[in-house]
């Protein structure tokens, strides 16, 4: 109905604001003129809320996130006697996110199902299916037969012997495996001593029989209409290929994995969602926009960068600022070899040499001097 007004404002306001204005307009039954006024008012308020030139948003962001985090430290390690899934909470998790750790302590997936499959049965079946099962999980007993130099595996489920034997044969190098009288007998093709046989046994016990490798645990949970599977261990790439899984809503908490599978924008979202979730779990109220800024800084180059010496802090332009942070010698030597120059345009360098910093009240200069009055 008001296509033009929307398009004329949409470059000034974010989509979410436009949606909300639309909603208000609908409920309050505003006419076109009133709606235009409302939109202008919103734009005015938004302009007022914008940061001014010279405002150091980086430092304000850092302070706004780190001050609440200091309170978190004290509470985090007091989780004595809690049962259930062990999940990294609090400061350790926050550090994981901002340091962009490659190996998470508890990698997790949240799997949602497509509309047609959104029911308990499918969810439970899927949860059962994706959990990785190793041979050790389905064995009743293992023994080394030192006479024949073979390994004898007794399964809990005797019916599966044939298929399991096949898998062992396929994935363990240089062995034969076949069911013999209620047991699977694994025979190495080469002559081995006891120690090597022991190694083969360990290898065989670690063979994946079914499921998706890496997924250790899967719990089905209901949230509103949806049946959700939470897993420990991630493999997004294989999970979204399953036919029941809704790949548009399924997500992992591993930033790198998401960046690889869904792209950098999704990774930015994961950083924001996870950081905000971690802070809110602890009852800390940090404005989203600070987290958004961190997410932007970590991903704007197209790949995930940590906040640290190898990431954001290491890519500062000033040599002195980098040298003062970490790895002083590396930066100084590199700069001297390459004949680099420090422009003294940042804050830290100017504090170092005792000059007025180029921000806040110090960022303005007189362009022309008034003529001296004689």
């Amino acid at each position: 109905m008001s296509e033009e007004s929307q398009t004329s404002y949409s470059d000034k306001l974010p989509n979410k604001f436009m949606e909300q204005i639309e909603e208000v307009a609908k409920t309050k039954r505003l006419n076109k003129e009133q709606k235009g006024k409302l939109t202008e008012e919103v734009i005015k308020v938004m302009e007022e809320r914008k940061f001014e030139p010279g405002e150091v948003i980086g430092i304000i962001t850092a302070q706004s996130i780190s001050e609440p985090s200091t309170q978190m430290t004290m509470r985090t390690y007091h989780f004595a006697g809690t049962a259930g899934m062990k999940v990294t909470y609090g400061l350790p998790r926050l550090m994981e996110i901002f340091d962009a750790k490659k190996e998470l302590e508890t990698p997790m997936m949240t799997i949602l199902l497509k509309k047609d499959f959104n029911n308990v049965e499918t969810a439970k079946k899927l949860a059962e299916y994706i959990v990785e099962k190793k041979l050790a999980a389905i064995t009743k007993s293992v023994s080394l037969n030192l006479n024949d130099m073979t390994i004898e595996v007794e399964l809990t489920d005797k019916k599966r012997e044939n298929s399991v034997a096949k898998i062992i044969k396929e994935f363990v190098k240089d062995v034969d495996a076949k069911p013999v009288r209620d047991k699977i007998v694994i025979t190495p093709r080469t002559e081995l001593d006891i120690k090597e046989l022991q190694k083969v046994k360990d290898k065989a016990m670690n063979v994946k029989i079914e499921g998706i490798s890496g997924v250790q645990n899967a719990v089905v949970r209901r949230e509103g209409e949806d049946w959700i599977i939470n897993t420990i261990g991630t493999d997004l790439d294989s999970v979204i290929k399953l036919k029941d899984v809704d790949e548009k809503r399924t997500i992992s908490n591993d930033i790198y994995e998401v960046a690889k599978v869904f792209g950098i924008e999704a990774a930015r979202n994961v950083i924001m969602v996870e950081a905000l979730k971690t802070l809110q779990e602890q009852g800390l109220d940090v404005d989203v926009r600070y987290i958004m800024l961190v997410g932007d800084i970590m991903t704007f180059s197209g790949e995930v960068n940590s906040i640290g010496r190898y990431g954001v802090a290491g890519s500062k332009t000033s040599i002195l600022a980098r040298a003062a942070f970490e790895e002083t010698i590396k930066h100084l030597v590199r700069a001297s070899i390459r004949n680099e120059a420090d422009e003294f345009k940042g804050i830290f360098e100017n504090v170092m040499i005792g000059q007025v910093i180029p921000s806040g009240t110090g960022m303005f200069d007189l362009i022309a001097k008034r003529e001296e009055q004689s």
Binding site: I60, L332, M352, G354, I357, S359, G360, T361, G362
Partner: protein, 598 residues
Amino acid sequence: MANVFVNGRFIGVAPEAQKIVNMIRDGRRTGKFSDQTNVAYHFNSDEVIIVTDSGRVRRPLVIVQNGKPKLQQADIDKLRKGEINWSDLLKTGVIEYLDAEEEENAYIALRESNLTTQHTHLELNPAIILGLSASFVPYPEHNRGDRVNYGAKMVGQSIGLFATNYLLRADSKSNVMIYPQEPLVQTYMHTSQEFIEHPNGMNVVMAFGSFEGYNMEDAIVINKNSIERGLLWSYMYRTYEAEQKRYMGGQEDVIGIPSPNVRGYAGEDAYKHLPEDGIINPETKVNSDDILIARTSPLRFLGTMDQFITGIENIRETSVALRHGDEGIVDRVFVSETIDGTKLIKIVVRDPKIPEIGDKLASRHGQKGVIAIVVPQEDMPFSEDGTVPDIVFNSHSIPSRMTMGQLLEVIAAKVAALSGKPIFAPAFGGVPEEQLRSSLKKLGYKEDGKETMYEGRGGRRLSSQIFMGCCFYKKLDHLVSNKIHARSRGPVTLLTKQPTEGRSKEGGLRLGEMEKDVLIAHGAALTLKERFDSDKTLVPICTKCGMVATNDRIRNTKICPLDGESNIVDVEMSYAFKLMLDELKSMLIYQKVVVGEE
């Protein structure tokens, strides 16, 4: 087959572990083995662990057999009469010491009434679970656990009579309370550790309530007249030393007032208060930085030109002065000799510390506070019988901390003060509340310890009844007079030209990394610059090569070592940065300073 370890070393296996353990224990109780042997059998790992080495913490327990303690009333009576002693009980197997290892095998009853046939030991007294300083807290079982812990911690910081021979000692720093008192409410520790010889506080009359908001947030309102009567006074003793050292080549220090042509001569006034021998007399009032012992030492490293300079001797003033910020009266002067035979002088300076605003006081229940106001007695509230409290304690300190022991102490101490007998209140065995209440009633006071009080300034009756009683208070070793510090201008360090650090060096207070960030976040660029200007210098920079040039004062020109008299400008920078440029140069990194236009 149990593995047997002696002092952590495997020595063999035993077929019947329990038998060996029992044999060792019986042997220890009958005197066959040393009573310092401990043995434990761990069922899970099937190990017998025997320990005899030093450094274990052990504690005494009464041995129990068939649910009956071996310590009988007869033994206790004999002990009282002095017929037997502690080690006799140890030898006869009545009492034994257990360490952490053997405790794993013991089943210890806390009280005799709890004993069953399964028990192996009995605690001497339930109060023994507390250590030395925690045992000084009366009624600890009525307090929240952490408060007892805090109270115990603060015992260690209290100023008291740490040694009765303090007048003969020359500790580098010590505090001694004047007229410390025996607490009105005592525990086992006060009697067994001869606390009366080494008390650490005084009994005060305290009222619970507010005083015009001056006792908010744990602050303490204190009676001025009480202080003038000597409440919680203490002396701080500090010892200063000077040695008349001998050096190689026959040179030695000289103790005595230096002549004016000595390097570092502090001026005539600085030595005015000293007698001829250069060692200060006892009972002289001294102030901050006053010289106590005048001394000169030979210069050890002569500069190239020094030996040719006439008029100034090659000796330097090395006098010992009173610490910066301290003051006091010279108490004692010792003149002695070291082992090497050199003259040694020790001077003890005494500084009376009268309670003042900012001093830290604490009761024994982890209730600490700082004096916020000193009120004249006439302005303090008073009770019906004319009692004026020494301290007005804020009642809000009680509910959140749940130190009910403090309240009980106040009532108990009130009874003790009125009846003239100290009250005994160790852990789990204090005089019960009901008894205190009835005694208080008998003494003619309200049984809940509350009193009708009148406001001091107007004489109006206070609308509510005020809980008042006595309490043992400690003065803690955090006195403002030892901590107060400010600086506007002052000394700088030689290397960086930045202000010195620390009170004793008249130092500045650092504006740190995070404080810097705050100024940046506020955009206060010029304030920030001003704060960091403490070491600003003008450095001559050659515009051609960008290196630091030299300033030739004699010819009043600036010269660049590389380019001669080129265009040299003075650049303002922090001295620390100039130092960094020098260091980079020493690492063969050419740092070119490109100077922009003003």
